[in-house]
Amino acid sequence: MQERALLEMRGIKKRFPGVRALHNVDFTLRKGEIHALMGENGAGKSTLIKILTGVYQMDEGNVYVDGEAVAIHSPQDAQNTGISTVYQEITLCPNLTVAENMFIGREGGAFVNQKEYRKRADEQLQNLGIPARGAQMLGSCSLAVQQMVAIARAVDMQCKVLILDEPTSSLDDKEVNMLFGLMRDLKSKGVGIIFVTHFLEQVYEVSDRITVLRNGELVGEYLTEDLPQVQLVAKMMGKSLDELSDLEEIGSREAVAGEVFYEAEGLASEETNPFNFSIRKGEVNGFTGLLGSGRSESVRAIFGADKVTGGKVNINGKEVKISRPIDAMKSGIGYLAEDRKRDGIIADLSVRENIILALQVMNGFFKPISRSESEAFADEYIKALKIKTASSETPVGSLSGGNQQKVILARWLLTHPDYLILDEPTRGIDVGTKLEIQKLVLQLAKEGVSVTFISSEVEEMLRTCSRLIVMRDRHIVGELKGQDLNQAQVMKTIAGGEAE
């Protein structure tokens, strides 16, 4: 193992108005290692990354690359010092070709040789096994491929430091494996990789070293093999794991024998094939399957989020027509969307306004919720869900991801739904909040609310759901309950029964 430090960050301090984002943080990346940067939301990971990539300027501290002090004031500076970043959200231009996206904004002559670009891009893409062509418009590629193009760009720039900020959250297992292959390949070429993720298993699969941050401070740097998963979680959360075991006890759920609340026959939307589905009162079930298998699309169809094209829906035994979200809401269905930023929060509105929004819409145009009433609602749920916010008037966009998610949960809880659909409520949020949300789901079920819970982390679903509907290629391929609810069986069903 080479012990020479490729990148050193020493005594990094950064303040935002009212918040100490980073305090005296040190970080060291060696040549040819994959270094996981871990921490709960708000721990300062993103801030540290953004300082390194020139998006933010640090208040104090030093950054050394190859032992030399460097000043990074802009993304260009970062690129020039050999630091490349692939973000969770695609930061490429959809209106340009794949080739151009790989080469734009880099050193080169005044004139652009598209043919040369395409040739080089095709070579690089083929080397890395990425299913895209240089001449293709980026916007016509799937999200996963777009992400890979971003990595191909970084690889082509022969970066010394590659930062992967939650690169796997929109990839399915196959694609994740491809990405890991790519990462190991780069590692062997001496590239230092900083890997930020919320998936613990992935950390243990690829990383050599782990740095943990908590509340803007450095907790420590560890070799991955020396730090068991349980300890890592404890270090990230700063508390023991009693809560985790709490949940295990609540888990292992029996199937519920309540009455059927919702039943759909041949339901289809523009994005799904016709499918049947039902849920009982107080039941927690879930859709599982790979990304793009149609699990999100199915719940969107239930909620009327996409254009419904056919099917019969019964709620409490009565036939209802759900073609728009408002119809579903009026029938007692709530839906927390997969993409929090795009489909969830209204960033500029206050926490209070975000919480009352769904209830307000259900109340109707001519029955506004008064200020005092809405403040009472907001305060109630801020307390109940332990939402960390300066006040109920803080814009929700300035909250951390986990707290934003809680605000949206509060929004739906306020409508007192009979049936709550949660699509990836735990994505991109810290472990502590994940547990809180899972607990809440079980709590709701106890109170008789039906819940459909979707998560790309199968354990979470196994912990909470009493029935799992497995999807593949936009079709339901199986339903698991009771004894069959274990990881192996789920994987087998997803893979189509042929796999071990």
Binding site: T53, P75, T91, P94, N95, V112, D122
Partner: protein, 343 residues
């Protein structure tokens, strides 16, 4: 497998698709005019007349297209054109030199571009407000310079103004048997020159590609290492310079100026760009499309006049109707594509 993939032809991108639609409609429309209205439309001179009359509009539309591709807007272009006309005429009438007048035109355009660019990209003020203020300022300055109409009285300039390029083989034989060659003004040459330069910048220069990237997704462009501020700044400089050139060309065409010169030109320029397939959201568009957009717009106006609807209000109503048609068409075509993409 990759061999196969490579051979596949890429489908048209949004820019190319919208431009193709415009060009097809322009050709069909012109052929229809030739068949139904006959008269002037059968002569090549008609096209040259359209070009002569609208050279300055073509030039400002080019500049506007650049700004729009970058995701901005510049509504000062017409007013700047008008200010340039007025200042150059006054300067020439004081016995100035033609070359210096051209410099003056470029200087005024550059000055507006610099101020707009600085305010918009470095102080992050909304482009609509900044260029609106620019428009007010240019219009106000024009009237401060002179409320009365002015005519150029300058020998050197008159010679330049009357220099026309004659193309005999595109001419026609008049009733008295003489050959009337097709005539093209110098302004048209300048306009074509501008189109080509801007086209080359947009398609092949790194700056042009940065405009597209910035208009496609500003945040991404920044992350890709593009200096977004500088890029945006330069887009307004280009637009300002082209407004300056446009003013000079307009002066060569009319030889006179008044306070209401080029009134409504900004909206015509926006309309031309849109018809030519530029989206106001940025990232999509092309100056070649803009050229055909301008031609389509002005041809419609010509057709309206030639069909005997002399009232000026018919022109604006048909222009409005046509805009409506193109805008809806674009919306429907792009909407369909997006659906297809999803499926």
């Amino acid at each position: 497998m990759n061999e196969n993939v490579k051979k596949k032809r890429e489908p048209l991108n949004d820019t190319q698709l919208l431009m193709t639609i415009t060009i097809c409609i322009f050709i069909v429309m012109y052929l229809l005019a030739m068949a139904l209205l006959k008269g002037g439309f059968l002569h090549a001179q008609q096209i040259f007349d359209l070009l002569n009359d609208n050279a300055s509009l073509i030039i400002v539309s080019c500049g506007l297209t650049v700004v729009m591709i970058g995701g901005g807007i510049d509504i000062s272009v017409g007013a700047v054109t008008s200010l340039v006309v007025m200042s150059c005429i006054l300067y020439l009438n004081k016995g100035g030199n033609v070359l210096l007048a051209l410099m003056l035109a470029l200087g005024i355009g550059l000055a507006f571009g610099l101020v707009h660019g600085f305010l918009i990209s470095y102080l992050e003020i909304q482009p609509f407000i900044v260029t609106l203020a620019g428009m007010f300022f240019a219009r106000g300055m024009t009237t401060i310079l002179s409320v009365n109409p002015q005519k150029v009285d300058h020998e050197g300039f008159e010679t330049l103004r009357n220099t026309k390029i004659e193309i005999p083989w595109l001419g026609y034989v008049a009733k008295n048997g003489n050959l009337v060659p097709a005539r093209m003004e110098l302004g048209v040459v300048i306009a074509f020159f501008c189109i080509i330069v801007v086209f080359v910048i947009l398609m092949f220069h790194r700056l042009g590609r940065n405009f597209y990237a910035m208009g496609g997704n500003q945040q991404s462009a920044l992350m890709l290492g593009i200096n977004v501020k500088k890029t945006r700044f330069l887009s307004y400089i280009i637009s300002g310079l082209l407004s300056g050139i446009s003013g000079f060309v307009l002066m060569m065409h009319t030889g006179a100026g008044n306070a209401t010169n080029a009134a409504g030109m900004e909206m015509n320029a926006i309309a031309s760009s849109i018809i030519g397939g530029t989206l106001l959201t940025g990232g999509v568009g092309n100056v070649a499309g803009t050229f055909f957009g301008t031609m389509t717009l002005t041809t419609i106006k010509k057709i309206v006049v030639s069909s005997g609807l002399k009232d000026p209000w018919w022109q604006s109503i048909t222009t409005g109707g046509m805009l409506c048609f193109f805008i809806l068409l674009q919306s429907i075509v792009l909407g369909k594509r997006q659906k297809k993409k999803k499926a």
